[in-house]
Symmetry: C2
Subunit: 178 residues, 2 copies
DNA sequence: TGACTAAGTTCTATTTTGGAACTTATTATC
DNA sequence: GATAATAAGTTCCAAAATAGAACTTAGTCA
């Protein structure tokens, strides 16, 4: 499968990745969240090829995650700002950072801390259930076909169906565990 | 900058991307969360090149996000399971899905819904502040240098410093807004 | 013996990326 | 008035990563 076809998968994750799932886009967005807006500043901070940056910014503008705003007239210069759609990627950035902090940080600890202005405290944002307010754990979640898949009458996420395990196999017990 | 050098950036996001920031890894992990464990099943579902799959699985095992477990002896066959480090990527997957659901879904609505077993309800998990329990909004968050950067005495994320805006420029007002 | 299964590996053409140099419009400096 | 500087790009080409198809390995089943 070609990468260009990825947004045609009936999968929100794949569609999201079609927008931000390349080498640089996520880092560009991180910078945008930190207040970077100008081409030169992105380039200096990320040390990425200018052509690539130009292309990625254009794509993000096309996708409406950023807007290109003229900030001076002579010579005409533009800067890039997060749109609502772009700002809404914040949880993605934060989750990725959290994971990096927990699993990839060096002995010195995480490079950046987040402060919540509301309460003034340094926090690690966490996923919660809006119904029962419990913290979300992967094992407690189930996926079921949503409207788009039900409509099409597709088998959806039936892949997780338990497989027959060769009887008496040593792995069987573990297999049932997960 | 070469992609291989990305994990040397002092940035948790970059380090995370060095593990899962390529074309397929995230989709492999999604499948893993849905219960897929075997090479053939990943391959059939994702329709990705086998060599690529093999390489990505190997890398995830090296990084300790998956383990390779033998599930039968003759012939020896292995399957891949999420480790704690892997399971901990759930918030990343969920955030990406949420965004896709909100911004990239077709007219039919999202392809998958999540059920929280705890309360039995269909939910959209959200990032919350563990201190004041408010939902996290990008605009209410500030980043400051964490231990790793303070130790090194680096300028950290000073890039967001306000720039002088040409006086009287039409963009100035908007510029201050954000 | 030959077909089949699961999990890979090998090969090659195509696509994407990285790096450096060049362009354009305009202001500031010698 | 020529020369440099700045910001935001674009152009060109070599190097790296990816896609797709075919092949391998080890063992079972008819």
């Amino acid at each position: 499968m070609r990468w260009n076809d990825i947004d045609q998968m009936t999968c929100s994750l794949a569609r999201t990745l079609s927008v931000i799932g390349d080498r640089w886009t996520m880092l560009i967005l991180r910078d945008a969240f930190l207040g970077v807006r100008r081409f030169e500043d992105f380039e200096k901070d990320l040390k990425m090829p200018r052509h690539r940056l130009s292309e990625r910014l254009r794509k993000l503008v096309e996708q409406n995650a950023l807007t290109r705003v003229q900030y001076q007239t002579r010579p005409r210069r533009f800067e890039y700002r997060l749109t609502e759609k772009g700002v809404d990627l914040y949880p993605v950035i934060v989750s990725l950072m959290n994971w990096g902090d927990r699993w990839m940080a060096g002995a010195d600890g995480p490079p950046v801390e987040l402060i919540h202005r509301n309460c003034g405290k340094q926090i690690v944002p966490a996923l919660k259930c809006p119904e029962c307010d419990e913290e979300i754990r992967a094992r407690e979640m189930t996926a079921r076909p949503g409207p788009a898949l039900r409509k099409r009458g597709l088998p959806a996420y039936g892949r997780a169906a338990p497989r027959p395990v060769p009887a008496g196999d040593a792995a069987a017990a573990i297999n049932r565990a997960r």
